[in-house]
C-alpha cells in the first residue's frame, strides 16, 4: 500500500481535488499556485469519479464517491482534508426497493446554492438525481426524474448510463439543469417535480433522427452564475450554446480541431470564456495531432484559440474525461485538467501558461479546484443521530470513522 500523506489549508490557499481510478488525492498550494503539497491517496484502490468541497457555513468538507467493484459505491467525507474520513455504515445513496434499481456509481457531487446551505446533490448511474437537505446525512432520489416517462428509452453511453452534470440555477431556486449520457439535457422549473428535455438543435449523430427530443449524448454542460440563461454544451460531436435557458441550442464549433470532446469548464468571472480539450473522434479518443491543447473562447463561442504554452505539442496522445477540467475562483483564475495517463496540468494565469502539477497518478477521472475562504472548523458532527465511533487506524495514517444511518433516515430517503 502507498504511504498516505495529508495536507492542510488556510484561507487564501487553493486546493485541488483529483479523483483517479485508484483513489483520491488532495493537493494544496498558496495563491501563487506554483508549488503543490500532495495529500492522499484516499479510498486507496477505488475509482473516485466525483469530488466536491463544501465551504458553506464555515465547513471545510471534502466529499468524494468511493466505488468498489466488490463492495459497491459509498459517499465519503472529511472535515480535515482526509486525515479523518467518514464512511457511513449503511450506504447513504441508495435506490428505493420499489425502483428495482441498484446504484452502480456516483458520477457527480454538487454543492447546493449558498442560500440552501444544507443542500447537496448527487448524479448517479443508473441515471438519477439524489438530493440531501441535511448536509449529506441522508439522501433521497428526486422522484420526478426517477419516474420520468422517458426513462425506459434512455440508454447507456460508453461510460454507463450516468447523470453527470447538475446545474442548480443561481437565479431561480425552482430551476435546475441536468445532463445524462445518453439521454441529453433536462430542465425542471418546478423544483424537480417535472423535467423537460432541452435538446432542440443538439445533434445525435448515432440516431436515425439526428435531432430527437431526447437521446443525445451530452458529455458536459456549464453555466455562469452571472448569466444563467446562457449555457454551453460539449456533446458527443458538437459544441453548442443556448441563450434561452436550454430551450434551443446553436453550434459554436468555430475553429476547433475537433468538436468531439468530453470536458468543459467556464471561467469563474467571465461568462463569455469557456475552456475545452478537443479529442480527435469517438473512434480515436486522443488529442488531435498528438498535441495537448486546451481551447478557449473569450467571446461565447464565436472563435476559439489554442492554449499550449507549457503543454506537450508532440507525441502527446492524451485523453481528458468529462469531469477532469476545472477552474478555481482566484482573481487570476486557475485552470486545471487531468489525463487518463495520470498527469495533472495547471495554469495560474487563466491558461496563458501551463505547468505539470503532478504526474505518475493512476488514470484521472475527476478534477476539482477551490479557493479556501476561511479557517473552517473540524466538525465533531454526528450523522443520523448515531454514535460517532472512535477513529481507527486505516490506510497507513488515515483514520476512518463510520456513521450509522438511522432507520428513520433510511425510511425518509426511501419514501421521497
Amino acid at each position: 500500500m502507498p504511504r498516505v500523506k495529508h495536507v492542510s489549508a488556510k484561507k487564501g490557499d487553493v486546493i485541488l481535488m483529483v479523483g483517479t481510478m485508484k483513489g483520491a488525492f488532495v493537493l494544496r498550494s498558496n495563491g501563487a499556485r506554483k508549488k503543490w503539497d500532495v495529500g492522499g491517496p484516499y479510498s486507496i484502490g477505488s475509482p473516485v469519479y466525483a469530488m466536491a468541497f463544501d465551504q458553506r457555513q464555515g465547513r471545510h468538507r471534502l466529499w468524494w464517491s468511493q466505488q468498489s467493484f466488490r463492495w459497491g459505491t459509498v459517499l465519503c467525507s472529511s472535515d480535515d482534508y482526509g486525515k479523518t474520513i467518514t464512511e457511513p455504515e449503511g450506504y447513504s445513496v441508495k435506490f428505493p426497493v420499489e425502483s428495482k434499481l441498484a446504484l452502480k456509481n456516483i458520477w457527480q457531487i454538487r454543492i447546493g446554492r449558498d442560500e440552501e446551505p444544507e443542500t447537496l446533490y448527487c448524479g448517479v448511474e443508473p441515471a438519477a438525481l439524489f438530493e440531501s437537505r441535511d448536509a449529506g446525512q441522508t439522501w433521497s432520489p428526486v422522484q420526478g426524474l426517477l419516474e420520468h416517462p422517458h426513462r425506459p428509452k434512455w440508454v447507456p453511453g460508453g461510460g454507463g448510463m450516468c447523470l453527470h452534470t447538475i446545474l442548480p440555477d443561481p437565479a431561480d431556486r425552482k430551476r435546475m439543469f441536468i445532463a445524462i449520457s445518453t439521454a441529453g439535457a433536462y430542465r425542471t422549473d418546478d423544483g424537480g417535480t417535472s423535467w423537460q428535455a432541452r435538446n432542440q438543435g443538439v445533434r445525435a449523430v448515432f440516431l436515425p433522427d439526428q435531432y430527437p427530443e431526447f437521446g443525445q449524448c451530452v458529455h458536459k454542460m456549464v453555466q455562469h452564475p452571472a448569466q444563467p440563461q446562457r449555457l454551453f454544451l460539449q456533446n458527443h460531436w458538437g459544441l453548442y450554446r443556448s441563450d434561452d435557458g436550454g430551450n434551443s441550442w446553436k453550434g459554436i464549433a468555430n475553429g476547433v480541431p475537433s468538436d468531439f470532446g468530453f470536458c468543459m469548464a467556464i471561467h469563474p468571472h467571465n461568462p463569455d470564456t469557456v475552456y475545452i480539450v478537443p479529442i480527435e473522434s469517438d473512434e480515436y479518443r486522443c488529442t488531435p495531432e498528438g498535441k495537448l491543447r486546451v481551447y478557449c473562447t473569450r467571446n461565447a463561442g464565436k472563435s476559439w484559440e489554442p492554449l499550449t504554452r507549457g503543454l506537450p505539442q508532440k507525441d502527446a496522445l492524451e485523453t481528458v474525461l468529462r469531469d477532469s477540467l476545472a477552474t478555481d475562483t482566484c482573481s487570476s483564475a486557475g485552470i486545471y485538467f487531468g489525463t487518463r495517463s495520470g498527469k495533472v496540468y495547471g495554469s495560474a494565469d487563466e491558461g496563458k501558461s501551463w505547468q505539470l502539477v503532478i504526474g505518475g497518478l493512476p488514470p484521472v477521472v475527476c478534477v476539482r479546484a477551490a479557493l479556501v475562504d476561511g479557517e473552517g472548523t473540524v466538525s465533531t458532527r454526528r450523522r443520523g443521530g448515531a454514535e460517532k465511533k472512535s477513529a481507527k487506524k486505516r490506510n497507513a495514517g488515515s483514520k476512518r470513522t463510520r456513521s450509522k444511518q438511522t432507520a428513520k433516515g433510511r425510511m425518509r430517503a426511501g419514501k421521497r
Partner: protein, 93 residues
C-alpha cells in the same frame, strides 16, 4: 444451534476485527442466514448485497464448498453446522 460465517479481511475490519463470526440461529436458507448476519452486524449488509437484496456481482457466497451462484442462490439450503463463506471474487484490474 450456531451458524458460522467466514468473512474477508476488508469486512472484518468493519465488524470488530473478526474473520469468523458465530450467530446463534438455525436458518433454513442462505437468505435467512444473511438476515441474521445483518441483524448482528448491520454494517456488512450494504457491502455484500445491493439495494435489491442481490448479492453483489463480484462477491461469492459458499455453503460449505458449494457456490450458491450455481445452486439455488439465496434460497440455497443451509445444513446444520455448515460454515458460510463470503469471498471476494477474483476479478477487476
Amino acid at each position: 444451534m450456531a451458524i458460522s460465517f467466514r468473512i474477508p479481511n476488508y469486512l472484518a475490519s468493519l465488524a470488530g476485527g473478526q474473520t469468523s463470526l458465530a450467530i446463534d440461529t438455525s436458518p433454513a436458507t442462505v437468505d435467512e442466514a444473511l438476515e441474521s448476519l445483518w441483524k448482528a452486524h448491520p454494517v456488512l449488509r450494504d457491502r455484500i448485497v445491493d439495494e435489491q437484496g442481490e448479492v453483489r456481482q463480484h462477491i461469492n457466497i459458499f455453503v460449505g464448498d458449494e457456490a450458491i451462484r450455481f445452486a439455488d442462490g439465496l434460497g440455497t439450503k443451509v445444513p446444520n453446522g455448515t460454515e458460510i463463506l463470503i469471498v471476494p471474487a477474483v476479478s477487476g484490474g
